[in-house]
Symmetry: C2
Subunit: 342 residues, 2 copies
Amino acid sequence: MLTERQLYILKAIVDDYITNAEPVGSRTISKRQDINFSPATIRNEMSDLEEMGFLEKPHSSAGRIPSQKGYRYYVDHLLSPMQLSSRDVTDIRSQLAEKFQESEQVIQQSAKILSQLTSYTSIVLGPEVFESKLQQIQLIPISATQAVIIIVTDSGHVENQTVYFPENVSGSDVEKVVNILNDRLRGVPIYQLQQKLSQEIASVFKKYVSKYETMLTALREVFQDHQQEKVYYGGKTNILSQPEFNDVERVRNILNIFEEDALVSKLIRSEDQGLTIRIGEENDFKPFEDLSLVTATYTLDGKYVGTIGLLGPTRMEYPRVISLMEYFSRDMSDLLDRKNKN
Amino acid sequence: MLTERQLYILKAIVDDYITNAEPVGSRTISKRQDINFSPATIRNEMSDLEEMGFLEKPHSSAGRIPSQKGYRYYVDHLLSPMQLSSRDVTDIRSQLAEKFQESEQVIQQSAKILSQLTSYTSIVLGPEVFESKLQQIQLIPISATQAVIIIVTDSGHVENQTVYFPENVSGSDVEKVVNILNDRLRGVPIYQLQQKLSQEIASVFKKYVSKYETMLTALREVFQDHQQEKVYYGGKTNILSQPEFNDVERVRNILNIFEEDALVSKLIRSEDQGLTIRIGEENDFKPFEDLSLVTATYTLDGKYVGTIGLLGPTRMEYPRVISLMEYFSRDMSDLLDRKNKN
DNA sequence: TGTTAGCACTCTTAATCAACGAGTGCTAAA
DNA sequence: TTTAGCACTCGTTGATTAAGAGTGCTAACA
């Protein structure tokens, strides 16, 4: 229902607004090399596009800016995904290659690079612990009533926590407990630990361990805590450099959200494999109503482990961002797979 | 060299400016209950105080604001440390008491409370790992060439890192290594680990472990990393609510500093036991030139373990902040001591 | 019938100006 | 020594104006 020319003009406007952050006038468009119509013609088309809801006017004598619907249409139909420059690619390669030690570092580094390349804020959800399985449990006594419990997963992730025993527990009891746990729980997904503990382990403890209730409650607490996903940020303050965010109060609100990992995690998370783009109000979250969020998932052995996200103004460099996100989504997965095979 | 009255007036001006963030005029001061001089008299005194460098004028027809020197004098001689309200105390008590599990949580929670009570930004340096001693080392194989090494200190702190062995290492070798390390290194301060490794352990390895060089380089890397202090923040964005920070660019600069823990750590750190107040340029750091930083140390068993800091505008509620910091400095030390004795 | 030149109109932005008021500094009197 | 009085300074506020960018409409053109 949109004519060829309208498509062309809409694209031109969005492109222009994305780079200049200023309402686009008819003359600006008509001056372009690839367009051979007078401003008046463009104006007529713009007027139509506005009527259809793709454009809006900040005020009657400004140019047009894309509406939310305009961005959406642009993203869905108009946008030509930009080829990543070879400089970008080598940049990424070199920066990711050097840090190759721990999965966690790969993720952190990715967040950083992503934010540097875009000057938006990147948010990466770390591998969910509960997707991975228990490799080993260690209990290291610090004092008579205090020990550190360490949980190592098959992906090499380590969680630790201090436990307090209300009454003294003998060294041999601790040893027994560790043995039992390792025997029975190796290979069990982290999120099932607590359940297994109550159902299977409790009775075994009862048989062999003298102060089994003390141990049990202590362990229960520990398993409770480790079900959350980690959140990594890159360029938290990048968003402040966007001209649309010169109001300190607005900025403060957004920055405060970043402090609440649980909330962010919920916002970013996306079940869909592949790329997701949420524009403005599509985020369904008031403080993000003029922000766009592009997310992609990354995998390990084909299974979902986390999400990478990029948060910027609705006026976002979609073509570039999309290419970048696709690249990262693939590259991180590869990297993690390779690390995993080591 | 300052008369009684001048002291009084200087204090009144600083107090007023601290609460209202606006230049203080002579009339405002003379209206105060406790002052019985006409505006003209006050003006004369103000003029003198300005000449001496304690006050300055934003422009000729505004009131006066304290100069850096003014704040300094106020802090050193004028300020009456405010009694903490009993509400504050109970607030703190209740919020610190509930979270009592891990040292790290105590610190984190302290940072949070401190920022909430003041609406400044709190920065707390975590216990320096290298003050504590090695309790136990664990090496947990994940795959043939990959293991997780876990370092537990006597304070219950856990550090972990993944190590890669370039060539396969046998299980018995790993076991030997762990035994040797635990035998020889228990009780050694963390910061000495690397040194000891090269000096003493290397030769032992050579004797008993087949691929000892592989192990050695892997371990060396691990010990390298764990010498930094952790930095905890509370209310990172609180500073944005101060009226003097309505310029996004300024804010961005400060916020960016918070992302670099090493730098912050260096800035906050203070060797002096007790309270330190650095006003504006005394921080010797450009981006902090109109910020004040109040720091105090906290201890464990009488020994320095970390620093708590509060960062706000030079126009800071010094009386309140000082009391709070003193309180926290004591309370955190107590808390940690008690935890340590458990 | 689609395109475009022309022009009146709208609305923002920047600049200028005057009035206001908060505050100072000085002088002279108490 | 203190203070009343007053002229002066300077930032703030609001109004007014001019400039400029852009639109929308009409009428002419191909």
